[in-house]
């Protein structure tokens, strides 16, 4: 396992840069991970990350894409409640990239 130093603290990440210990996450860590992903964090990005983390707290898994788009649509308007909008924010794929920045485990499967 590799470690990265973020704001003076050593933090363990896996081969792909996902946090090994979810408790290590904070906003600085998120900013760092986003930079690694070449994602410029805006309020729009934070809306998604915050929802992901809330959902994870309740269900111990990231929300399905449809659950996420619906929640974003309700909050920010129907024109943003779709997969295309999420890809604009997280171009490598909203599920994996947003989970990484949000400090959640990588969703894997046939996805």
């Amino acid at each position: 396992m590799a470690t990265v130093n973020i704001a003076g603290k050593d933090i363990e990440v896996d081969e792909e840069g996902y946090l090994t210990n979810l408790a290590d996450w904070n906003r600085d860590v998120a900013e760092y991970l986003a930079k690694e992903e070449k994602v410029d964090m805006t309020d729009a990005h934070w809306e998604v990350i915050d929802f992901l983390r809330e959902y994870y707290d309740e269900y111990q898994i990231a929300p399905a894409i449809r659950v996420l788009t619906k929640a974003i649509g309700k909050k920010l308007g129907a024109d943003k409640g779709n997969n295309k909008y999420l890809y604009e924010l997280f171009p490598y794929g909203p599920a994996k990239q947003a989970c990484k920045i949000g400090g959640l485990p990588k969703p894997t499967g046939c996805i």
């Binding site: 399905a64 894409i65 449809r66 499967g109 046939c110 996805i111």
Partner: protein, 507 residues
């Protein structure tokens, strides 16, 4: 994870056989599995001191148990018919991705330890010791094979390269070289019930949300029942159908079909996964453990029919293995096998593919469609490798090719096939099957998709095709990821039951 740098091949009118580039993909190594999942599956997680003995031992056990593997290792005459049939060779030009050469990595070792000439005069027969370097090569190249079996179609001896790859991966697991992606998934499916690790409450919440969406769209109370005892049909579908786009559109399609047919059906939390990665790793016991969950759910819920959703490898396991893995064929004396046989309604094929189910309803006039609702789409169909070459649908030869196309033609006006040498039995793998649908193998996935992308491009240009219809969760995820590398919009990817969902008339 913003993605590694590599050169994306250019699209050409026909897929040409590339000039060999020795070692072109030697660098590509899938992440190794760590302790948690390897221990769970009963494997070591790092190379033990006696790794060589362990590897040879395991190889011997596999040879004794699966005569097919021994025959495939013995029978090859190096004619070369398979060399240009593999999408990974065509896309990467690495000679070790020629099926014959990939097999030869193991065949050399087999000769050395298991044949008389190889034991006494290895230099005469191309027999070689197993070394750590060779083991590493196995690891790299046995994870650049999607076990799609296209090469087998062209082999005059019918050698099934996939079985060599599966044996290779099992031996690698046995010496601590498990693949992170498959290993973790095989743990999740057995701990949580599905490959994604979607716990019951999250699944219930997701399905509830989909019911709301469907009601908003149609005005009808279309249900996605979960864990309903006494439902006639148990639907086993890949967990990606709950989680991903465009997969979920097909799930909605199945629900609408069941609604229109007026049948009772249910999903199961305990068996919320169709895909069986035990197949990919060549471990029969793991494959059985995963399959057993479905049998147990069917018994618990009392289902009379088991229907499998759009999932390629799942259908191979269901169609070809369930009977001997978990059914009456496993052991005639097993009371649960007998109970299941008594319980299932034997007027229907068990298991039934969702396409068989829908096509039967269409033929009987139960389902009605407004085909014009799909008029914005010009559709082509990609035959998924394991459905095409390892299973069937319906009761006619070639039903696995005809039935999905028949459904598409019944629900849409514009359908065009891709060139003949790239569909049906000759179909190219999507490039992400067999345990390769992971980000660490993206280079092989993109390059391996080249033959399919060339064929797709030809119908895009000639016929204006804008929709790639699929019946496999891996194909859907792989093409969603890979299409943009070749300049296509990821929104072109979808499921056959997504098309059904668009056109179906409900009341």
């Amino acid at each position: 994870m913003a993605g590694p740098e590599f050169e994306v091949p250019s699209l050409t009118e026909y897929t040409e056989v590339p000039k060999i580039q020795e070692g072109a993909m030697a660098h590509l190594k899938s992440f190794l599995a760590a302790e948690a999942s390897q221990s769970y599956l009963g494997y070591p997680y790092e190379l033990p001191a006696d790794w060589k003995e362990r590897a040879i031992d395991r190889m011997g056990q596999i040879l004794d148990r699966f005569r097919s593997v021994r025959v495939f290792l013995d029978a090859c005459v190096h004619c070369g018919a398979c060399t240009d049939k593999c999408h990974y060779f065509l896309g990467t030009a690495d000679p070790n991705n020629m099926p014959v050469a990939r097999q030869e990595l193991m065949r050399k070792v087999y000769r050395r330890y298991f044949t008389l000439p190889g034991k006494i005069a290895p230099w005469l027969v191309g027999a070689e010791d197993l070394t750590e370097d060779k083991l590493n090569k196995w690891y790299n190249y046995y994870h650049q094979c999607s076990e799609c079996r296209r090469c087998s179609v062209y082999c005059p001896y019918g050698i099934d390269t996939a079985e060599i790859t599966m044996a290779g991966r099992e031996i690698l697991n046995y010496v601590g070289y498990g693949q992170k992606y498959s290993s973790e998934i095989l743990m999740k499916v057995q701990k949580v019930g599905n490959n994604l690790g979607l716990p019951g409450p999250a699944l219930a919440d997701t399905l509830e949300g989909l019911e709301e969406d469907m009601e908003a769209d149609t005005g009808l109370p279309i249900k996605m029942p979960l864990d309903v005892k006494g439902a006639e049909i148990l639907l086993i579908t890949p967990s990606a159908d709950f989680f991903s786009e465009p997969h979920v559109e097909s799930l909605i399609g199945y629900a609408k079909v069941f609604h229109a047919a007026g049948v009772s059906w249910t999903l199961s939390t305990y068996a919320s996964e169709a895909g069986n990665f035990g197949l990919f790793n060549g471990n029969y016991e793991t494959m059985r453990d995963v399959a057993m969950r479905i049998r147990d759910a069917a018994l618990e819920l009392g289902a009379k029919r088991i229907i499998v959703g759009e999932c390629g490898h799942a259908w191979r396991v269901a169609y070809a293995y369930w009977n001997t893995l978990t059914g009456i064929g496993w052991g005639g004396e097993d009371p649960f096998s007998k109970q299941l046989q008594d319980q299932l309604d034997l007027r229907y094929p068990q298991p039934t593919h969702i396409c068989e189910y829908t096509w039967d309803l269409i033929q009987r006039g139960v389902l009605k469609f407004d085909k014009s609702l799909n008029d914005d789409r010009v559709i082509t169909f990609h035959d998924s490798c394991n459905v095409a070459r390892a299973s069937r649908m319906g009761d006619e030869p070639g039903g696995q090719f005809a039935i999905p196309r028949n459904i598409i033609r019944a629900v849409a006006n514009n359908f065009r096939d891709m060139p003949e040498d790239t569909i049906g039995e000759a179909t190219f793998c999507c490039g992400g099957g067999g345990g390769m649908l992971t980000d660490d193998l993206i280079e092989a996935r993109v390059k391996g998709a080249l033959p399919r992308m060339n064929a797709y491009n030809s119908v895009v240009r000639k016929d204006g095709v804008n929709f790639l219809a699929l019946i496999c969760a891996i194909c859907k995820a792989q093409f969603t990821k890979v299409l943009p590398y070749y300049g296509f919009d990821r929104g072109m990817v979808g499921g056959v039951h997504q098309l059904v969902s668009t056109a179906i008339k409900l009341d």
